[in-house]
Amino acid sequence: MPDLSFDVTHIYASTDGIEIPLVISFGSKEVQTSGYADCGAEACIFSNEIGQMLGIDVEAGEPKWFGSASGGTLETYGHMVIIEFLGITLESIVYFAKYAGLRRNLLGRNGWLSKLRFGLVEYDSTVFLSRLT
């Protein structure tokens, strides 16, 4: 049996997803908000509104379209930001939606999961995290 150990244990209270409180920073601006761990998302996708709060010129970033499970599409722009959560700090590309109205911020594989060891026991509403060095 594999023997796993992690640096951080987090019990998420929300019943609608694996919600992680975080601080996202761009330059000297920072916003405390939350994101949802999403193993099915290829990248980290945040709302346009959070980008605006950070003072980001969203459409000046790297353009990228994402497809959804329902067949819809989402136009986004990538920017390098710093994400701090549960004592872990990562420098990552986050894709901000072109338009306002994205219901939640997604912490996906590239830029988040790919930089972590991640364990999940959904039954106990518990995630286990370590930063890969």
Binding site: A13, S14, D16, G17, E19, P21, V23, S25, G27, S28, E30, V31, Q32, T33, S34, Y36, D38, G40, A41, I45, S47, E49, I50, Q52, M53, F66, S68, A69, S70, L74, M80, I82, E84, G87, I88, T89, L90, E91, A100, R103, R104, L106, R131
Partner: protein
């Protein structure tokens, strides 16, 4: 307010003269040492250390040092962040009352709420709270989320 001890002031001044990397390391060690102390008389010194670290991180963010250094330093836990637990608990208890709105929370204190994200953000900025939790609350009747 208790005045800062002269010896500590001198150490702090010398630390601020060092190159950024050494300065960050030394200030961080000093901060961690002081955080471990329960002496209230050290409080002004602690505040100066924290201010110095914040200034240094701002300089790093503005580009005078590589971003990876900023990440490394932040991972070392030098920066004080608000505990998100009170805000998350408030959200758990009150989300149904504010569905479809943005909220700004200072711990478990609601600063502002409304449908316009930037208006809520502006109200939070005007309030002056340090790093309020700003979040959109999905309507109670929203369909289960699948992106």
């Amino acid at each position: 307010m208790t005045p800062t001890q002269p010896g500590q002031d001198g150490i702090l001044r010398q630390a601020l003269e060092l190159p950024d990397e050494q300065k960050a390391r030394l200030l961080e060690e000093m901060l961690q040492h002081e955080l471990g102390s329960s002496e209230e008389s050290n409080r002004p010194f602690l505040e100066k250390l924290d201010e110095a670290l914040t200034r240094l991180e701002s300089r790093i963010q503005s580009g005078s040092t590589t971003p990876e250094s900023a990440v490394t330093r932040r991972n070392s836990g030098s920066r004080r962040r608000p505990d998100p637990a009170p805000a998350m608990e408030w959200l758990r208890l009150h989300s149904k009352e504010y569905g479809g709105e943005w909220v700004a929370l200072d711990g478990d204190r609601l600063i502002a709420h409304g449908p316009d994200a930037m208006e809520v953000y502006a109200a939070a900025e005007a309030d002056g709270a340090y790093l309020p939790m700003i979040k959109y609350i999905e309507p109670a009747d929203a369909l289960p989320f699948v992106f």
